[in-house]
């Protein structure tokens, strides 16, 4: 028996709060889970700074990756198996891609990528194709197998049906994270009837479609997605924590460039500050490492770095107001000047945050440049785009909603001390 088809002597199961059990029978999958690069995902939270708002949101990318694998496994082993439109030889590549799709995420992914201009997708590719334990396992299947998995995750795999299971507008990735994030945050949105959706998924030539009888289950999924984005993912307080985290990294980088003598040297960050980092440096980072630095930097001589770290570690977050930049651009410039006069550096303490900084991929019906929309398979075999059949989806799809906020340390402005009149003037402007 080849390594690709080798089964475990006994099925392994992981107890999971969302899917109850995650079943592993393939030796390859079991070996991948045991690699150091996959185990690293235990130390990266799925929702970054959201745990500072929803205290239950401590779940990791490891949990989520197993969940995506399980959903794909159920689709292909329970629903697609035996159907002429499904190519059974794609089974292993799609299972591996599902398991490994988030492998390249770094600590507090979004903020870290933003500051150092990185892309986790690129790191996923590098881990799959570089000198790693994951690559060693995948290469045992066949020489070209790591590249095949990388192509599925990178959406350049020739079989689009396979890609769409992992990445489309109704894919295993979203179906897992919506339910998992709802469960761990404790919110009541995010729930939908996944079992029903899985049962009505059908493989077609270039995509996976939904039997029209399952439309209402899909409507529920679209609504969950819509509500979770605005209620959890874009929560203004968790964005405040992310703003502070971003500013800590910016400050540490700026200090390093100025030659500042850190009491706790940022050894793990050096390569990221000067752009010389390697894959090994990247894999050595996790959220535990970052939080340890933040703890020690709370005692640095640099007051800005120390203060920002204290705010993050002890959850003394920035206050925020709604801010319409189109109308208030001049006001922003005035505020920057006043902050400087008050001795508060606006670079770190007056931050405009826009919702497009964290892309919100709400359902789009699919226009000229968009992704493949959700298609319903009608009883006569025709394919219809979801929003043409569903009034509910039509009502919320493609609707613009943007959100802009201005973050600032209100406690600095209300504290007793010097420049009281100036600070009062700032607070008036921020009302």
């Amino acid at each position: 028996m080849s390594y690709a088809t080798q089964k475990l002597a006994e099925e392994k199961v992981f107890k999971d709060p969302v899917h109850r059990y995650i079943h592993v029978r393939d030796q390859v999958i079991w070996d991948l889970i045991g690699t150091r690069e996959f185990q690293r995902l235990r130390r990266i939270k799925q929702l970054g700074t959201t745990y500072l708002v929803f205290h239950g949101a401590e779940h990791s990318r490891f949990n989520h990756s197993l969940g995506v694998y399980e959903i794909v496994r159920r689709i292909i082993d329970d629903v697609f198996v035996g159907r002429p439109e499904w190519d059974e030889s794609e089974r292993l590549v799609v299972l591996c891609a599902a398991l490994l799709h988030d492998l390249g995420h770094g600590p507090f992914s979004h903020a870290f990528e933003n500051v150092f201009d990185l892309d986790h997708e690129e790191f996923t590719q590098k881990i799959l194709l570089g000198e790693t334990e994951v690559n060693e396992v995948l290469s045992r299947v066949s020489k070209g197998f790591p590249q095949k998995v990388a192509d599925v995750i990178g959406k350049t795999y020739p079989n689009k049906q396979v890609v769409s299971l992992i990445s489309s507008q109704i894919d295993a990735d979203r179906m897992d994270y919506l339910q998992r994030d709802a469960y761990f945050t404790g919110v009541s949105y995010g729930h939908f009837d996944m079992e029903r959706i899985l049962r009505v998924m059908r493989p077609r030539e270039d995509q996976v479609v939904i039997k029209s009888s399952g439309m209402h289950a899909v409507e529920d999924y679209i609504m969950s997605r819509y509500q979770m984005y605005w209620q959890v993912y874009f929560h203004p307080v968790s964005r405040s924590a992310e703003v502070i985290l971003t500013k800590i990294l910016h400050r540490a980088k700026a200090l390093s460039e100025e030659g500042y003598d850190f009491e706790t040297q940022p050894t793990h960050f050096k390569g990221f500050f000067d752009g010389t980092f390697t894959l090994k440096d990247y894999l050595a980072l996790d959220e535990g490492v970052l939080l340890t630095y933040f703890q020690t930097w709370m005692s640095e001589k640099d007051l800005i770095l120390a203060d920002l770290c204290d705010r993050f570690v002890n959850r003394k977050l920035f206050q925020y107001i709604e801010f319409d930049l189109a109308k208030d651009y001049v006001k922003m410039k005035e505020l920057e000047q006043l902050f400087k006069k008050a001795g508060i550096d606006p670079t770190y303490y007056l931050v405009f945050d826009s919702s497009s900084d964290l892309p919100y991929d709400f359902y789009r019906p699919g226009e000229e440049e968009e992704r493949i929309p959700i298609h319903l398979q009608m009883p006569n075999g025709e394919i219809h785009e979801l929003s043409r059949e569903s009034d509910i989806v039509e009502a919320i799809s493609g609707k613009r909603r943007t959100d802009h906020k201005l973050y600032f340390p209100e406690d600095f402005l209300t504290a007793d001390g010097k420049k009281k009149a100036l600070k009062k003037q700032i607070l008036e402007l921020l009302k």
């Binding site: 959406k155 930049l325 651009y329 410039k333 405009f352 991929d361 000229e368 943007t402």
Partner: protein
């Protein structure tokens, strides 16, 4: 602050308007691949490289009144035209975005002359520019099989990229 937004407004301003979302996506991607300073993250989608970030920025800029979107019904599909507004021009000045360098202006104008089909081909080739030329072409044939790009079109695409790179280098 909002420097990346301002650069997108400037891009559309330099082009004196761009018709087609796909065309706009590919133009910014090609400029980015030529090392002009655009930060939008791109992934591969059905029509080649696509940036959700850019889509959202455009939507925000329309909401803020810095860009104007015109919806054109083409029968079987809808096309969108984007144009910089006076408020958008003022915004780029306030945001202190550096004036577009001559090679970028030329690059934008050359791209604007091309069809979105051609730009889809160019951007797909550039997406695989880490591969050898024959592998890049192979990728186009596999991933864009339905578009049936001819050898002449592919040659023209390589020449087009080379011209843009030369202009960038000369400046």
């Amino acid at each position: 602050m909002l420097e990346e937004h301002a650069k997108v407004v400037q891009f559309i301003g330099v082009a004196d308007g761009i018709t087609g979302r796909k065309k706009l996506q590919k133009m910014v991607y090609i400029a980015k691949k030529l090392q002009y300073a655009y930060k939008e993250k791109y992934e591969f989608h059905i029509y080649g490289p696509y940036s959700e970030e850019l889509t959202l920025r455009i939507e925000e800029l329309c909401n803020m009144g810095f860009l104007q979107e015109e919806r054109q019904d083409k029968g079987s599909y809808v096309q969108y035209k984007y144009q910089m507004t006076d408020a958008g021009e003022h915004f780029t000045q306030m945001a202190r975005v550096e004036e577009a360098e001559p090679s970028l202006v030329s690059c934008i104008n050359l791209m604007k002359e091309k069809s979105s089909r051609f730009l889809e081909l160019v951007s797909t080739l550039l997406y695989f520019d880490h591969l050898a030329k024959e592998d890049q072409i192979e990728k186009v044939h596999v991933l864009k099989a339905k578009l049936k790009f001819t050898a002449d079109e592919i040659d023209e695409a390589f020449t087009f990229v080379m011209n843009l790179m030369n202009q960038r280098a000369v400046q």
